[in-house]
């Protein structure tokens, strides 16, 4: 790092030349991506392009095979040690990885709420167990988060008693309860009935407006146009094109990008 940038805060997410192999399958082929604080980055692309794998790598649900990945300037999953002029890499201990993950919220395609807990208990669980917040404080914060996603009146319901859209909103509240600096969304509306997509996108829109840094993998082109500061188009494990929504979606330069949006729009 040179003296020019020393006092500038690092980007929220800095992905440098990341590769990922599943056995022989080369899923990510050298990804570079910078997401600034407060920015909303929407990742678009056909199924199997590696976009879900990319955000799963960011919070270490998958270990990257090559490259480096920084969140808020902190190297994820690894520790670099200078030894006699060479850099030796060590994997971080589970507890360290848990600590890194606790700063990143993640929302899944299939919600993954804890079915044996009510909506309120779902939201209280991680602050209680990970941060050791007192029961009273955790409940107060959980109620605030549920209010934020419009689910206050369903606090006592179990996930099985909620619609898909309601479950996803609770899942967002659950992630927010940890006060994350970064929110990852892995196709948050893909498992929803069409009439329920709107309520979840509404919550995400509101979250973006509040200044949250977000990386969203989705097929919702409309959401990308409206909310994204940066749109990334991925295909076959590489970033094909990136820019503003207008540049990438309405005015693509690459043939593959034109081809994709020609089909989905």
């Amino acid at each position: 790092m040179n003296s020019m940038t020393e006092h500038v805060s690092p980007p929220m997410v800095d992905v440098r030349g990341v590769h990922k192999f599943f056995g022989d399958l080369h899923v990510l082929k050298g990804i570079d991506l910078v997401v600034q604080r407060g920015e909303v980055c929407v990742v678009l692309g056909p199924s199997g392009s590696g976009k879900s794998t990319l955000i799963r790598c960011i919070n270490e649900m998958e270990q990257i095979s090559a490259g480096r990945l920084y969140v808020d300037g902190e190297l994820m999953g690894l520790r670099e040690e200078e030894k006699g002029g060479r850099t030796v890499l060590h994997r971080l201990k589970d507890a360290e990885i848990s600590r890194q993950r606790s700063r990143i919220g993640m929302v899944f395609q299939r919600f993954n709420l804890f079915p044996h807990m009510t909506a309120l208990q779902n939201v209280m669980e991680a602050p209680r167990q990970v941060k050791g917040v007192s029961k009273r404080d955790a409940e107060q914060r959980a109620r605030d988060q549920l209010a934020r996603v419009g689910m206050s009146d369903r606090a006592g319901h179990y996930p099985a008693q909620l619609s898909g859209g309601q479950q996803q909103r609770v899942a967002i509240a659950r992630a927010l309860a940890m006060d994350p600096e970064l929110m990852l969304f892995d196709e948050p509306t893909s498992a929803l009935d069409p009439e329920l997509v709107g309520e979840v996108l509404g919550v995400m829109r509101q979250l973006a407006a509040s200044g949250m840094t977000m990386i969203v993998v989705t097929h919702e082109v409309g959401f990308a146009r409206e909310v994204a500061d940066q749109v990334v188009f991925m295909d076959d494990g590489v970033v094909v094109e990136r820019g503003t929504a207008h540049q990438v979606i309405s005015n693509p330069q690459q043939a593959r990008t034109r081809d994709f949006f020609g089909k989905v729009l």
Binding site: D94, S98, G105, F114, P115, H116, A160, M178
Partner: protein, 317 residues
């Protein structure tokens, strides 16, 4: 709202099933005959049954049987959890040891194992802690001080039970969707916390019913500890009284009544446990009692999408 015209409802006669009725009458007659014989046959000696049902020796036998059942199940459950987690891990030594344990203790009769535990003080006169294949010993103790008849009986039953339960536990842990692991770890929870707070409570729904069966089975398996020999539990005590008084049948009935009574109580307890661990899966209100039937419950489980549709499929490898 205007009354809708009532359709002409179908009132058809059901298909006659005379065969079923003939069968029912035959079964009823046989059943009544059995009840009649229970009352009229003096050889049952119900007076003697009544006399010995609350005999202090019998009551003490009931107590020891309950203690053996509870103790063996506790040992079994702790072992089962450990072994199941060992088998699901990545370390080849831990996995190999877990596999060998299950292989041995499921593959030999519990009676044989109990005789073995009874003889262990002869097999190992002293118990020493040291380094294998060397003469280095840290300390040593007379094995008779450790392996009393009660300890041998508890270990024999518990180790055997652990092998069976570990397969049940493993099936339960495997039945929980891996999305639950991901969601919990993504929130920053550590492995132990995830297991304790998220995975095991959900796995219990699959684990409790067969474990209830195992407990009931264990209640009766305790009668085999005469192999050790441990001579205080219900079957041994009632047999001893029966042999001494030349009245084996009434004393067998005394034992049977106690076993039935305890089993019935266990069944009620099992139902409450199942309701507790089924919460969130069957559409009941928060903290409320179960309000819907089994099929709705199954639907809700599938809807939750956190378990396989048939978790019992891989109970046995």
């Amino acid at each position: 709202m205007a009354a809708e015209p009532t359709p002409d409802l179908i009132k058809a006669k059901p298909v006659p099933r005379p065969g079923v009725w003939v069968g029912a009458v035959i079964v009823a007659v046989l059943g009544l005959g059995l009840v009649d014989s229970l009352i009229s046959n003096p050889e049952y000696r119900w007076q003697t049954v009544r006399e010995y049902l609350f005999d202090p020796r019998v009551l003490s036998g009931v107590g020891w049987t309950l203690l053996l059942t509870a103790g063996a199940m506790v040992i079994g459950i702790v072992l089962a959890l450990t072994i199941a987690i060992m088998r699901m891990g990545t370390n080849p030594i831990l996995r190999g040891v877990a596999w060998a344990y299950i292989w041995f203790f499921r593959g030999t009769p519990v009676y044989t194992q109990l005789v073995f535990w009874g003889l262990i003080t002869i097999l190992y006169r002293r118990i020493s802690v040291g380094i294998p294949f060397t003469d280095v010993t840290f300390f040593s103790i007379d094995s008779k001080l450790i392996f009393t008849a009660l300890v041998a009986a508890l270990l024999g039953l518990g180790l055997n039970e652990g092998a069976y339960l570990s397969e049940i536990v493993r099936a339960g842990l495997n039945s929980v969707d891996k999305g639950q692991w991901e969601a919990a770890t993504a929130l920053g929870m550590k492995r132990g916390t995830v297991l304790r707070r998220i995975i095991i409570p959900q796995a219990m729904r699959v684990i409790v019913p067969p474990t209830g069966n195992e407990t009931i089975s264990m209640l009766k398996t305790t009668s085999l500890v005469l192999a050790v020999p441990f001579m205080l539990e219900l079957t041994f005590v009632t047999n001893a009284i029966g042999n001494r008084t030349f009245l084996p049948v009434p004393l067998l009935i005394v034992a049977a009544i106690w076993y039935l009574l305890i089993t019935s109580i266990l069944m009620v307890g099992q139902r409450y446990l199942e309701a507790y661990y089924g919460r969130g899966f069957d559409g009941e209100q928060a903290g409320g009692r179960r309000v819907r039937g089994m099929s709705r419950r199954q639907q809700a489980i599938l809807a939750a999408g956190t378990v396989k549709s048939d978790p019992t499929l891989d109970v046995t490898p």
